[in-house]
Symmetry: none
Subunit: 343 residues, 4 copies
């Protein structure tokens, strides 16, 4: 398993990690959950991501139970959770107030049966709270020893910039990573909007949905197979399913088919190619896998073997298929420089 | 129950909350106290305010006992207390020294049987202590996890400005709220003196005496009824009672009578109208009710239904009756601007 | 003429000002230029905006000449210019380096025959220069007495946030205004992307193209009339003209026709309604008019009389026609608050 | 001519610039000097470097005279000079005291007949003066408008780190470039010692002696030709000449011979290959040419055409010949990361 530093921090994270969104406490629990985590760990995945909101706390409960039963040494693990929507619905039970960040973190740790997580994320921005309060509260969490680092998830570049502004002004710790959607069909934010943040603060991404909810496995190339995730969760994926019948969705399917051709040529699965493509991005810290079975974990990890096959020529062919490479942020000054990328 | 953020913080407070000034440990305790809190909570009031000085600590003791017995989840509650006059009378037992703030807070938490309060207030300014010492001590309390936020009570605008100046210079947390008297007959400080603080620091008020010790219920319109609060606490309200026989006091009674006419027209009680009027102010965070029985809690909460009846026309009529709207702070520069209120 | 403060600064700017994009040095010069400025000034417009790039410096030259000949007192005027593209094309002749900001400002002042401008704008962002260098250079310009304030033009919210971060960290002066496109058909950036900046830093906009290059005058409702700006500048407006023949452009024309109906009902011109609508926005500092004749200045200024006609009902009808009101930035926390707009 | 930003600054410098070490005021003056500068400028070199010490001020005098006579626009030029050894020998006439930096800069500007230079360098470190005094003095020079940026020359990495530490602590401007020796036979400092400075502060180098005093032209491959620089300046190059007769020197000659073979294969001169090799380094801002005739300028500029020939394969062959690639700074932590170079 290749490892990367997360942001400019000294934390080493595996290039592929395991997320507990649909898995733990939800569709998968009890022994199957243990099998997934065990398989992941034995194949080099030592980072596990969850959130207080996943299955209303049950994801944390399951993950905590399983890791305890498996008896792994805590320092061999990298655990992240995310705070925003508390499992209950009180008026102070959500968002990024000092009250909820502190109360929520304490409750997450109880569910996880841990003294601390490695990284705690703000699961969304909260524009009803000054960012200063949020930055201070995450620093409090770190100073209490409840987390080593903090990050953001789906924040705008402006919001992350403001968080760093506050942190720098007050001599506090800023966010080291952004947990964002990043896949072949969703690139504008991670590849363009965040560009200045990679440069200014060295943040990494911890990417989710890197298979586009399964679309990039190619299994929906010819319709929605019975028993597939989309089939079993028709309500949850309603908007996605509807879009697949329209022009925009059909165009996506067409692209996935062309990517499948390249995957076949390389002798790899479409999913492994799609995952490796995200991992190849220099700003990706870890690609969070959403595998729901031990077999899927192993299948996804084949992406590691795809990495060396992503030559400049292959990447160029993929770009041509996708046709969605974000334009670089415009620079209006002259002349063109030969070291613009260096800064 | 409508909720508001307290100051610029992320803390959600109910527009009406319950105070324990005369109630807990004092005239009301034991089971009646529990009934009041239970009724309040079940009707949406999840914020309870007390102080170390109320009934020499008994108010905190009673509130702590009752909330524990009722078994509410801590994160569903918003608890505030106030530090200034410790229940005992030692030379270091009052004021805003580091020693008393820290020792007083610890003792309050013991009485409340809680790990922390949500907001801790400086119950008065202390001009015998540098404001820097006070700001630092409240930040210590917050960093210890004993409170999430701090506020002031009956501080002058200049004193709050200095607290913020110190907090900003030192990178510390400033006060988010000012607990002050605000009612139809007392407006200069909350509506004019604090104006720049609302703009500069976004502080909210947590108002007390919004019924002017009962005057604005209209029940003293025709004299002091036997068994009323003024009748039962003649010594405590001596100054108030004397004033009511003089020109200034009689003028107040006259105004309350005219307000009563408007209340009747709207089909609401004078008290509900008076409470709603304070709640309507954009800078009010929460109106602290001083109800002494479950029935009074319910009666006071009828103010919520009055809120939509406070149309610009009605507010204008109330202004005419009151005749005490503070002049805006003078601006001497020309010309008049059409966005002066915006800043 | 109504006046507003520009941002949180103390500078008073007229709600309508005059810009020199196509006017000075370009299509209009010599005496006609003097007539426009004279008419504007005599009707309350005392602010004139230009840029080093307009007509390669000739706009500044003309404006400087005319204002000198008219003999207005300097302190009665508010002059702004913009730095980015120097009139010549050397490698250090554009962008926001310290070198170009300082050299460019000095040359602009020579052309304007002035000791200082009131506001100097960065005409675009320059992502090839650290924002710290740019902030320092504009502060140098201010400290030299060459400008009283500085602003940005068409910067992203993240970039303005970073500029303020740098300014606050170094104790320097931040940008007070953003010169951006804002009109009925272009709202996302000024009304949504900048929302947090209005709140955090109180910046104002100085809007350009508030008639959408003339589209909102209604004169293109039935095609491109001979002699109109679009007709006379077919190359410059090529993209715009092409779009008007496609679905998106036709939809715009349809909206303008519906706005024209409302304007007719109010007894005002479509242009005046469109200008007043932008001016009505609380964050607008000044609407920069692009009038090319004294008559057009007078016609545009009728927008002042439209302002009181923009009742909540009319504004609501306009919203229905436009159908493009930006969604507020999502807040994911619960519950809804009744003072969310206050912060 | 390719242009690069100098350090993280917005200043554009040509990849090849002209230095006045031996040239101006020294071996070359009068009309020949004008011919060199004219040829350089007409071939894209708009940056000229000098120093107060070169020929005891005469280099600055000559360069100022010639540039004035040629009538170039100041903003089209990038001028740098260096302060350390004043032309006279008084006790306060050298080093990096506030007194000498300010007095020296003023005198340099008089000699150059300019209001400002673009970059002013500290020609050496001065360990007899606190770095804080030096940083403050260069900031004074910048705030006076006498320079836009400042840099260092032959400072150690630790000294540059301390300068940035002082600058950051005081909110002052730090050095953007380091003028250092960098050529195929001298790599340890620019390629290893400064590595963290490139990453932390983005400094560029402005390299001198990139032909190793002529050794890398290959002209000394077979001894010291009569009339060559070494031959005409035997005293000045005494140490160098002696070393060439010993083991270390002979090994250098052997390497140059092997480089000459590669140059021949590429169909370029050894000198052009050596210059292009330094220019290829991503941290090189500008390679300062020491040409002493118009012909040499043109010959040196052929390095631009060599740049695209420096493929990974050719660079690898050059490394094998040189055998002096600095070891990267050791990292003692495990495991190996795949993004170590990214930070």
């Amino acid at each position: 398993m290749p490892f990367r530093r997360l942001g400019r921090s000294g934390l080493r994270v595996p290039l592929f990690s395991l997320g507990g969104w649909l898995t733990y406490g939800g569709t998968v629990n009890g022994d199957p959950c243990k099998e997934i985590i065990k398989t992941a760990f034995e194949n080099g995945i030592n980072m596990f991501d969850t959130a207080e909101v996943y299955e209303k706390g049950k994801s944390e409960l399951e993950m905590g139970r399983v890791l305890k039963e498996l008896g792994y040494r805590r320092s061999d693990l990298v655990i992240s959770t995310k705070i925003y929507w508390g499992p209950r619905g009180g008026p102070n039970d959500s968002g990024l107030s000092r009250k909820h960040i502190i109360e929520g973190t304490k409750e997450s740790l109880v569910r996880l049966q841990m003294d601390y997580v490695d990284v705690i994320f703000a699961h969304r921005p909260d524009n009803s709270v000054p960012i200063e309060e949020t930055v201070r509260a995450f620093n409090y969490v770190i100073e209490q020893g409840w987390a080593f680092y903090w990050g953001t998830s789906e924040w705008s570049a402006r919001e992350i910039e403001e968080a760093w502004s506050v942190a720098n002004r007050l001599g506090l710790i800023g966010p080291i990573a952004e947990q964002c959607q990043h896949h072949m069909l969703h690139r504008e934010r991670p590849e363009k909007e965040y560009a200045a943040l990679y440069r200014n603060y060295g943040i990494s991404t911890t990417t989710w949905s890197s298979l586009a909810s399964g679309l990039l496995t190619g299994k929906y190339n010819d319709g929605i197979p019975a028993g597939s995730r989309f089939d079993k969760n028709k309500d949850f994926f309603k908007t996605t399913l509807e879009s697949l019948t329209k022009e925009e969705g059909l165009a996506k399917i067409a692209k996935v088919k062309d990517i499948t051709v390249i995957a076949n040529e390389l002798g790899v699965s479409t999913a492994a190619l799609a995952l490796a493509w995200v991992a190849k991005s220099p700003n990706t810290g870890t690609v969070i896998l959403g595998a729901t079975s031990p077999e899927q974990v192993l299948e996804n990890l084949k992406a590691i073997e795809v990495l060396p096959k992503l030559t400049p020529e292959i990447l160029e062919r993929i770009e041509k298929v996708l046709g969605n490479k974000p334009e670089p942020i415009a620079t209006f000054s002259r002349p063109a420089l030969d070291n613009d990328a260096r800064w």
